[in-house]
């Protein structure tokens, strides 16, 4: 199915337009899209970093985790929307470079889990601002989740950069 989608996208007019490197205007689309992508990654990573270090209890202790979550999650969602948009542009331009690349596939799998963790921060602290602080067990669970989230997002960023180097699809035969 992924092959069919890739095939269909590669034949589309949109892909031909976005990957046309003979004109400066269209050649510029990909580097500009990637630059915006990186700036949005900056917003996500610093927000995720501050949030998780707070949950681990090592930073921003003057603010409660619930309050930080309320302040930072809108930035994370907005940046993720920009990331999706620019990511889609890059994927349409070079469908097989992305969709059939195993590093890209790993990135998306990690992203799904990381987003679920981020949603859980918002849901739990909306229900109870002290959710991650009600018992030693809950605190420990929070620390594990925060550590996991940091590793996941670093993994997503790394996989994103490494698509250019590893995991390219090689047609058999």
């Amino acid at each position: 199915m992924l092959e069919q989608l890739t095939d269909w996208l590669s034949r589309s007019d949109a892909s031909a337009f976005l990957s046309d490197t003979t004109l400066l205007q269209t050649w510029l689309i990909i580097p500009i899209s990637q630059t915006i992508h990186i700036l949005a990654v900056a917003v996500v990573m610093i927000s995720i970093g501050v949030l998780n270090l707070r949950l681990l209890g090592v930073a921003a202790s003057h603010q409660s985790f619930a309050r930080l979550t309320r302040q930072l999650t809108p930035w994370i969602w907005s940046a993720l929307a920009v990331l999706l948009l620019t990511g889609v542009v890059q994927t349409i331009a070079e469908p097989s470079r992305e969709l059939l690349n195993s590093t890209f596939q790993l990135k998306i799998a990690l992203l799904v889990v990381a987003v679920a963790v981020t949603i859980s921060y918002r849901v739990t602290t909306t229900r109870n601002p002290n959710y991650w602080n009600v018992s030693p067990g809950r605190r420990r669970a929070g620390h594990i989740l925060a550590g996991m989230s940091l590793v996941l997002w670093l993994g997503i960023l790394s996989a994103g950069r490494l698509i250019a180097y590893f995991g390219a699809f090689e047609p058999k035969g």
Binding site: Q34, V41, A42, I46, S47, A60, H62, S158, L162
Partner: protein, 162 residues
């Protein structure tokens, strides 16, 4: 020994050669460099947006600065070290790239802007720490800083395309 001699010497070291020849050293260094750069840009933007009165207006500027600046400095050190390792792989090639030179100049300008802000404007922070909209000199410095760092990221990304 001039700068060109030094760069040619650097280029010929086994150290530079091993980065050039390895399949994974350059991508690994680049990944660490990018991870550090996004934290530099993100943390600076976090403080600048507050200084510009566009974000977290209900929180004191000093509180945001304490929250963001440790990230900025730690990440800047990492970005510089790994940026140098990437540069060392092909020093003369990078030096000849307009985007690379522009990136270095922009980092220096961002540093000068920060130095002026810290040495002059920041002295009066007590008076506008809780201001929803800090004074115009503060907002100007914040706007310049954002413009410089966004330009650094643009140049950095374009290095890979030319």
């Amino acid at each position: 020994m001039g700068i060109v001699d030094f760069l040619n010497w650097l280029n010929d070291t086994t150290f530079a050669e091993s980065i050039r020849d390895s399949v994974w050293l350059f991508p690994t260094f680049e990944t660490i460099h990018v991870a550090a750069i996004v934290l530099v840009a993100g943390s600076i933007a976090g403080l600048d947006l507050r200084l510009a009165g566009l974000m977290a207006r209900d929180r004191p500027v000093t509180e945001i600065a304490n929250e963001m600046l440790p990230w900025t400095w730690a990440a800047f050190v990492v970005a510089t070290i790994f940026g140098f390792l990437l540069f060392a792989s092909k020093p003369m090639v990078y030096l000849a790239m307009a985007f690379f030179d522009a990136k270095l100049i922009l980092i220096v300008l961002a540093g000068l802007n920060m130095l002026l802000f810290q040495q002059i404007t920041w002295k009066s922070v007590g008076r506008w720490d809780r201001a929803v909209l800090p004074p115009v000199a503060v907002r100007l410095a914040a706007g310049l800083s954002l413009a410089f760092w966004i330009s650094v990221v643009i140049c950095g990304r374009f290095i890979g395309f030319v």
